[in-house]
Symmetry: C3
Subunit: 316 residues, 3 copies
């Protein structure tokens, strides 16, 4: 899409050369041909060193743009960014791709739906009522139970098991807000990548990234009702017990163990080999690996136990 | 249905004229032709001023009935009411309605099910495995992702997005109880109304009203795993983060923001522009708009922060 | 399957006679022809009195085996047990059974899937998108709403109502762990038994047992988003409010009432007529019936109320 068309859609003028844009991306990751955006002086150095050449910015950031950049100055960058994502959203279904490819010895129920462009490995089972969207990849030996939904462009590894009712690749929960309190959808144009040997329980929801990928790494096991928000990265061989939720862009290292009904805020970085007891409420990053935590606010498990006995004594 | 038939079904005598009844409703809202019910003196004045003319009541309330009322005196009104709801429950599927109407440029996948009597607007997308029940209305430009279920008689506005696994219009959780501890279903004969510009995440559940409607107003956005019980009313442009639940008949004003894993009791009234941080547990109505709250029991957010630091000191 | 084949699969030698094995079971319940396992001296007496004759054990337990036992000494019994369960896992779909039997006056939508070997009673309704696995039994007058999934070998009683998105019989969450932190699936070869008059809300998940059955007894009612883990047993006429989770093998007596967002640990035994207020976190068994509890850590409700007022005073 031409940058000038984006400018027209947003109702602003384009400064600099017109460019062909393939997609959007966040400032730190965007490269040539990817539209990106920045608001606020704290991004001035990221802006200067950006690999992109196409920007939506606030007027105070013009001086920090890299050389030869094309840009649009927006009154409300966040809102303009949201409107722009719609232009880059793929169609819900890609009817133009060729028919799905299916490997040897795979079983696809006649009442499952596999859209065009999907690539299904060998010895895969896709049961009745499952939905496999356009251009989805599913590798060998994976089982998709009935009524699973996999949105377009997601990828599932080998030897995975995905239980019924689970939804992979629904839109992340992202909106920009108008001055009058309406919420403008930020189209979620990324995908979900599930690596090999992952098992996902019943009725989970793993949201697609706004840009790039939400990733569940090799060997991780999710119980039922796990919520993984957009752009999370879950390390290898982790364990999530039922009804736990992970906020957007949070990253957990390998072999974390998270007990039931726990929750993590957005944008955290959790060291590997961390353990969280039931109903942990995690609002800060954890740098040291190997700890065990409890409570909300979160603290070391030992401390939490001590605190509970102190609290109990208030009643005596 | 004739009131005499209801009386026969309940095993009681009808006093007064026999009447044709169209439906049931709660006392405050019932009009002529709607069977209603009351138990306990606190309803005496509501009873006297009721717009209905057909009642299930306890014997002590007879004197408060409006003139010319027909009524049944029940030993256990709550239980008789539950039994009566079954008589007014529509069939699961309305085979007698005419074929669904579908507007221009709409796409309904061949593996989606749209029952008779449904009215689908233009530019609507209904993907594989979605279920659209009898007499459901879906307005223009709305997207229904795969494996969404919309029970009969519900209505979905324009420009809505409903993600996979979400269930709209399942029965509210309502039972009357026998002396021996069995639970008798109160049939949920209302519906769900979703207004325009609403987005609902994956694997949500919005229950139909027992009578009348559960309502999600214009512009509200729900993340994944949101539970909205029967007869709730959610104001315009509100935001609900994942794994939050709202108890029956609770009403929230416009532009509320509810963070993840929060919960609201039944029958609350929440002022507009209220904000609730993660895991808020709301058990009382909120009258003043614009506040920020936390904790369970709930308190002002500032107070909660102060309290957490006091609690932490117990351990020192 | 021959015990010698299991030994070969595990890479160990079989001691004693070769045996035909039908299934696996836990030590306390296993009978002749059922492979079982034990690790640690605390199981020595259970081992001696076991009804089984086929064992996976650690070397220190050989002397406690019953007479004429056949056995395999394993370095890591838990891990070998997990590998063995895979050998006893039934196929995902039993194509060889005869066509499903369906009773009089039942309605099965053409877009529902009923696998071979299923037995459907009379006056049953199975709506579009529902999945009824191989050898599932559904008794008279039961309603299965759209997009419900019932995994193979489960059984549903009469007069049940199962709402959309609910998954019955997905695998329990069970793994053994390697020294390098991988998780090896314990195949869940049991089933789920739902007795008569049970209603299950939208988007619930009731996991199949690892061996034997997860059981929901007669008359129990579940709201939306209820998680019941493998091998639970839920007593008659119980009530579970939305977003509650029950850990593996926990048993609740009859007429328990569990309010929303509550959670129970694994392996608890809860007395009948127990009541739990919202967000109860239950980590210990309850022996006396009729109590009311709150909080996490759990305490008597009265005590919890008193404690909350004491905690509130910390802020004054």
């Amino acid at each position: 899409m031409l940058f000038s068309k984006v400018a027209h859609h947003l109702g602003y003028d384009l400064t600099g050369d017109d460019l062909e844009l393939n997609s959007m991306n966040e400032l730190a990751l965007a490269s040539h041909g990817e539209l990106t955006f920045a608001v606020g002086k704290k991004y001035s150095s990221d802006l200067s060193s950006s690999g992109s050449n196409a920007f939506l910015i606030s007027s105070d950031l013009v001086e920090y743009l890299p050389k030869n950049a094309s840009y649009i100055i927006c009154e409300n960058v966040s809102l303009s960014m949201a409107y722009a994502t719609k232009l880059f959203a793929p169609k819900l279904i890609d009817f133009k791709s060729s028919h799905a490819e299916v490997g040897d010895e795979s079983y696809i129920d006649t009442m499952a739906k596999v859209e065009n462009g999907a690539k299904i490995g060998s010895h895969v089972t896709i049961m009745s009522g499952a939905y496999v969207g356009s251009n989805v990849t599913i590798k060998d030996n994976t089982t998709i139970y009935p009524n699973v939904t996999i949105y377009r462009d997601c990828s599932i590894g080998a030897n995975c098991i995905i239980h019924s009712g689970t939804v992979i690749g629904a839109d992340g929960f992202g909106f920009s807000h108008t001055a009058t309190g309406e919420h403008v959808k930020i189209y979620q144009n990324g995908n979900v990548v599930i690596e090999d040997d992952v098992e996902i329980g019943a009725n989970c929801a793993i949201d697609r990234a706004v840009f790039n990928s939400t990733i569940i790494k090799r060997g991780t096991k999710l119980d039922n009702f796990i919520h993984i928000a957009h752009n999370c990265e879950i390390g290898e061989n982790s364990i999530f017990v039922a009804q736990t939720g992970i906020g957007g862009s949070t990253k957990l290292g390998r072999n974390c163990v998270v007990s039931g009904q726990s929750a993590f805020s957005d944008h955290l970085d959790i060291a590997p080999f961390s353990t969280f007891t039931a109903r942990s409420g995690v609002t800060k990053s954890i740098k040291e690996s190997g700890g065990t935590y409890s409570g909300y606010p979160l603290m070391e498990h030992r401390e939490w136990r001590r605190l509970q006995s102190k609290i109990a004594k208030l009643n005596s």
